[in-house]
């Protein structure tokens, strides 16, 4: 479904060139939910932007269902890390969620239904007529999530989408994402810095090394499909996987230390 081959990205901003991503190769099967973890600054956002067709890679390719991605493909939704800046400040919450649906030319009835459902799912029904700047950071983040969900994409890219919400809301949203994923069969690539979250959510966890970035490890999460915040997190297998991801990230950080020293 989604195939990233030998992806490299070098930013040529001004005097110095920054190699954000060196050589990434991985693949997502259709309907897979994969979590991406890696140290801060290792190029997760860069990778996501290349996949979304927002930025051309320096070399390497991104293929979606066999087609090379050079512009934002249809049926792909992205929740940006800078959630606050990704909302239209001059539009109400409802209008923000509805805008992409209007552009898809969905009939009014269907639009209303999707907007209501997705706002309900993120717990913002009462705020449909508020403006984004009247909401807290975590609520704004949920609006961005609702917009992506209402869009009914085939591929969903999320860049640390729960960074600004409290633990309880976070747990609810994690279950929401799994629920949507199971219900709609979307392919999800989910960036997080939270190891527990990666293991809890994903069917697979990709660990990126620190810059210059390569795929450090690819861990299959063999937990049962039905997950539960209490029992899954107490599962012995969960603890094992968590420890493994943790070790890999530690290694990713340490292996980069000599490179960063000079």
């Amino acid at each position: 479904m989604l195939k990233v081959t030998a992806l490299q990205k070098i930013y040529n901003g001004g005097a110095s060139a920054v190699e954000a991503v060196r050589d990434l190769t991985f693949e997502l099967a259709e309907g897979e939910l994969v979590c991406l973890v890696g140290p801060s600054g290792c190029g997760k956002t860069t990778l996501l932007k290349c996949i979304a067709g927002l930025m051309p890679p320096t070399s390497g390719t991104v293929e979606l269902a066999g087609d090379s991605v050079t512009a934002p493909p249809p049926d792909m939704a992205v929740v940006f890390q800078e959630y606050g800046r990704s909302l239209f400040a001059w539009m109400s919450v409802r209008a923000n969620v509805e805008l992409p649906l209007k552009e898809k030319k969905l009939p009014k009835e269907r639009r209303r239904e999707l907007v209501a459902q997705s706002l309900e799912a993120v717990g913002l029904t009462a705020f449909a007529d508020s403006y984004p700047w009247q909401l807290s950071g975590g609520m704004q983040q949920r609006v961005a999530i609702a917009r992506a969900v209402a869009y009914e994409p085939k591929v969903l890219l999320m860049d640390e989408p729960f960074a600004a919400v409290d633990a309880q809301t976070r747990a609810d949203l994690e279950d929401l994402i799994r629920n949507i994923w199971q219900r709609l069969g979307v392919t999800v690539l989910f960036v997080t810095h939270d190891i527990d979250e990666a293991v809890y959510l994903g069917e697979r966890v990709l660990v990126l090394s620190s810059s210059p970035t390569v795929v450090q490890d690819d861990i299959t999460v063999d937990l049962p499909a039905e997950r539960d915040q209490l029992t899954t997190r107490q599962d012995e297998r969960f603890t094992e996987l968590r420890a493994r991801v943790y070790a890999q990230i530690q290694q990713a950080k340490n292996s980069a230390a000599p490179a960063a020293a000079h």
């Binding site: 979304a52 939704a77 992205v78 940006f80 239209f88 400040a89």
Partner: protein, 286 residues
């Protein structure tokens, strides 16, 4: 989530049960009354001071407010309204509108395209440096002395603040928001309408406000040359014929016109930029 059993790393976001309601501190009538008093206080004091000084000095060139008011009523509530005032206002608004549309359209093109900007910028910088009044002699030769000359003068001055502010606003569109629009497949027209123009609207409105003030000035100046009607013409004529109270009445009318136009503009701006005020207030933590 009020029970303290659940400790979280971050402070939990406490969502209020209802969206914030707009505040309603006072009944509307009282508010209007208070505001009017507020607005009228200083003018009343200034007029009083002027009345006092003219009554004591009695100069021919500074007639008392009473004389000016008489002249005002006699002049402007007569057919002069149709001959001088209305045509002036029509030229003013036509020029302003043409400048606004041209400035915004050109500004969007320039703001979006780096190539066009690089090509046109030197020429535009040069044209902008020419003070519009010096174009009047040329325009009289080219288009004659009728309305179109005066409108052209207004346009040639007003277009710049709109253009430059629009370019700036368009260039400042948030890249994350632009990426969002691309991801969700917004078409060019939608992108212009809901992304570019809206996010540049604070700058565009600032440009339009400047343009409006300029338009009034240029309207008067263009009417002082080779003209036979209009407010500018009338004021110069009164001055030349030593009709001093009438000259003052013309100035007062110009002031009132400017005040009224700015007030109307402020109302429109308030509506268009409601979100922007809210956003700024929210960022300041109000």
């Amino acid at each position: 989530m009020s029970q303290p059993t659940h400790t979280t790393e971050r402070p939990a976001v406490q969502a209020p049960a209802h969206p914030p309601k707009p505040r309603r501190p006072m009944p509307l009538a009282a508010r209007i009354l208070l505001r009017t008093a507020h607005v009228l206080l200083l003018p009343a004091v200034l007029i009083g001071l002027y009345a006092y000084s003219t009554a004591t000095s009695g100069s021919y060139y500074t007639p008392t407010p009473g004389l000016i008011a008489d002249a005002f009523a006699e002049l402007w509530f007569s057919e002069r309204l149709l001959v001088d005032v209305i045509p002036s206002l029509i030229r003013l608004l036509t020029g302003f509108t043409i400048a606004a549309v041209t400035g915004v359209c050109l500004g969007v093109v320039l703001g979006v395209s780096k190539g066009v900007r690089a090509t046109l910028e030197p020429v535009l910088e040069f044209l902008r440096a020419i003070p519009p009044p010096v174009l009047i002699p040329l325009m009289i030769l080219l288009v004659g002395i009728d309305d179109s000359m005066k409108i052209l003068v207004i346009v040639s001055g007003c277009v710049w603040p709109v253009l430059l502010n629009t370019v700036e606003g368009v260039r400042a569109v948030d890249p994350v928001l632009a990426d969002t629009a691309r991801c969700y497949g917004l078409r060019t027209t939608t992108r212009l309408r809901v992304l570019v123009l809206r996010s540049a609207s604070p700058q565009i409105m600032a440009g339009l406000r400047l343009a409006l003030a300029l338009a009034i000035i240029l309207m008067v100046i263009s009417e002082m040359f080779a003209s036979s009607s209009g407010l500018g013409f009338a004021i110069v004529q009164f001055q030349r014929t030593f009709a001093i109270p009438e000259m003052w009445a013309g100035m007062v009318l110009l002031g009132l016109v400017g005040f009224a136009l700015t007030a109307v503009f402020g109302l429109v701006e308030g509506r268009v930029l409601r979100w922007y005020r809210g956003l700024r207030a929210a960022n300041r933590g109000e």
